[in-house]
């Protein structure tokens, strides 16, 4: 048994202040049936061993955001190289970032999240979790992103944001070839970024053909000297919301989506 203090989360050689992490790995075995045979004849794989890994973390830096930006800009048309993700003593060498997001809210620590698709290099993989742990990681930066120090640029008439929610996602075309169980290549097929900003009032147009807008959230720490990271979606306004309930003040949300 391992305590959480012995299970660091490392993505592409960077350790994160993760508050939650999980993975699952599964095969695609399917039964094979044949006429004249009672029950299954055998079971055969219908694809490679695949898995997913997700984590939530506090923001003292956000190199995963950089992975997303690099993948969807300079490497957009290139064969995407996987990254290595480890959870305690278990390491996954072929992880592809599929989603990344961040949330900030007044008075609270900012948080981020990410998920990966996992592939393996061979037809079987040894998985060990919760037994052989890693040494407790040394403390990193004490400056975590905080809503009371962060800011969001004016968008949709919201000059004073109450909160922001940033989401980005990547879909891949994985290329397989005969004789191999792991993707021979991976290319980005779809990617997008979306930022929802909440405030006390909104003033914006929404258009069938798209109304351009840019939403940028700068996450900073309370006592740090400079911003930690920036999340941005430069695209079109795709959703406007307004809500109010008895006894409360009205609130509005503007969502900007950037298709890549």
């Amino acid at each position: 048994m391992l305590n959480y203090t012995n299970i660091p989360v490392i993505v592409d050689s960077v350790t994160y202040y993760a508050t939650q992490a999980s993975f699952n790995v599964s095969t695609s075995l399917e039964p094979v049936y044949a006429l004249g045979q009672a029950g299954k004849v055998t079971q055969d794989p219908n694809g490679p061993i695949k898995g997913t890994l997700s984590l939530d973390y506090h923001i003292d830096q956000d190199a995963i955001s950089t992975i997303f930006d690099t993948t969807t800009t300079t490497n957009l048309a290139a064969n995407i190289s996987p990254v290595t993700v480890s959870l305690g003593g278990q390491s996954f060498a072929k992880a592809y970032l599929t989603s990344h997001g961040a949330n900030g809210q007044a008075n609270q620590l900012a948080t981020a999240k990410a998920s990966f698709d996992i592939y393996f290099a061979s037809t079987s993989a040894a998985i060990a979790f919760g037994s052989a742990g890693s040494a407790t990681a040394a403390g990193g930066s004490l400056n975590l992103g905080h809503g009371a120090a962060s800011s969001v640029s004016t968008v949709g008439g919201i000059a004073d944001a109450v909160s922001f929610a940033y989401e980005s996602s990547i879909q891949y075309d994985f290329v397989f070839k005969m004789g191999s169980v792991t993707p021979a290549a991976a290319y980005v097929s779809r990617a997008s970024k979306k930022m929802t900003v909440e405030g006390y009032s909104i003033s914006a147009n929404i258009s069938m053909c798209g109304d351009s807008a840019t939403a940028t959230a700068t996450v900073s720490s309370l006592c740090g000297d400079s911003s930690i990271t920036t999340y941005s979606a430069a695209g079109e306004i795709t959703q406007l919301e307004g809500s109010v309930s008895a006894g409360q003040v009205g609130r509005g949300k503007v969502t900007v989506t950037q298709f890549i």
């Binding site: 202040y17 993760a18 508050t19 992490a21 008075n107 620590l109 990193g140 009371a148 909160s163 003040v249």
Partner: protein, 271 residues
């Protein structure tokens, strides 16, 4: 060094007014640091994870028209208690800015001076070297306390029975609206209407409680007015009222040591 500071050394200013008859003052704040647990890490990493808590409360005798009753609206106020070097520009104090009244409660009883308890929530600075931004009126209100014998209360229960104590309270719920980038709210919204509660203790002569079944569709209500008068009763120094106050609580009490009495609560709202 090693001196002590007694009540006589202290002056309390609220909203620029030097208050008379203050019996207690309390200011407190909490910085909600919490350890942030993270995977693979046993360090103690403490961060502020929620809103700051900042409160002021003080109690006074009613000694005249109360300058703080007007703070039940949207207005904010600052203030401080100066406890050392009070005649010296380098005084020492505990003060606050952007305080909002959250509770105002007047209470009186036979044989006692009328008291008022006030609570504030603070949405800006609180601590030493903070004193509010209002111009100071350094002349205290003359100390002329209100006593129960000078109070008139028009409740119907008082016509043939004896009201021996009451309290009147206004709750001002403040809804701070925070935005990113600050621990102080951008806006402070007053939740309206404001609830007003009046509690009586009535020693019974001929009072008989309503049957609760009759109150469901026919609530018992009345307009209540409480006047605190000057010593000879010729003038009202402070009045409180509540219109269409509904009887919401009725507690009949009898014991070996007390006269039979009933405690009544009326509730109303002011817009």
């Amino acid at each position: 060094m090693y001196g002590r500071i007694i009540y006589a050394d202290q002056k309390v200013y609220i909203a620029g007014n030097l208050l008379s008859g203050v019996t207690s003052f309390k200011g407190d704040y909490q910085v909600p640091y919490e350890n942030v647990d993270s995977l693979g890490n046993l360090d103690t990493v403490q961060h502020i994870t929620k809103e700051l808590t900042r409160n002021i409360s003080f109690s006074r005798y009613i000694v005249g028209a109360d300058p703080l009753l007007s703070l039940t609206g949207d207005a904010e106020a600052g203030g401080n208690v100066i406890y050392k070097n009070r005649v010296n520009p380098n005084y020492q104090n505990f003060g606050f800015n952007s305080g909002y009244l959250t509770s105002y409660k007047v209470s009186a009883a036979v044989g006692q001076l009328t008291k008022v308890d006030t609570d504030f929530v603070v949405y800006n600075g609180i601590g030493g070297n903070i004193s509010g931004t209002e111009s100071v009126i350094d002349t205290p209100v003359p100390f002329s306390p209100s006593t129960a014998s000078q109070i008139s209360l028009n409740a119907t229960e008082a016509q043939t029975n004896r009201i021996v104590s009451f309290d009147y309270s206004i709750q001002c719920k403040r809804m701070p609206q925070y935005v990113m980038g600050s621990f102080n709210p951008k806006y402070v919204v007053l939740k309206k209407p404001l609830p007003i509660l009046v509690n009586f203790t009535v020693e019974i002569d001929d009072y008989m409680c309503n049957d609760i079944q009759t109150l469901i569709c026919n609530p018992y209500q009345q307009n209540l007015t409480i006047n605190l008068n000057n010593c000879d009763g010729s003038d009202t120094i402070q009045g409180y009222s509540i219109n269409n106050a509904k009887l919401i609580n009725n507690s009949f009490n009898s014991s070996l040591t007390e006269d039979a009495n009933v405690k009544l609560t009326y509730q109303g709202y002011v817009i």
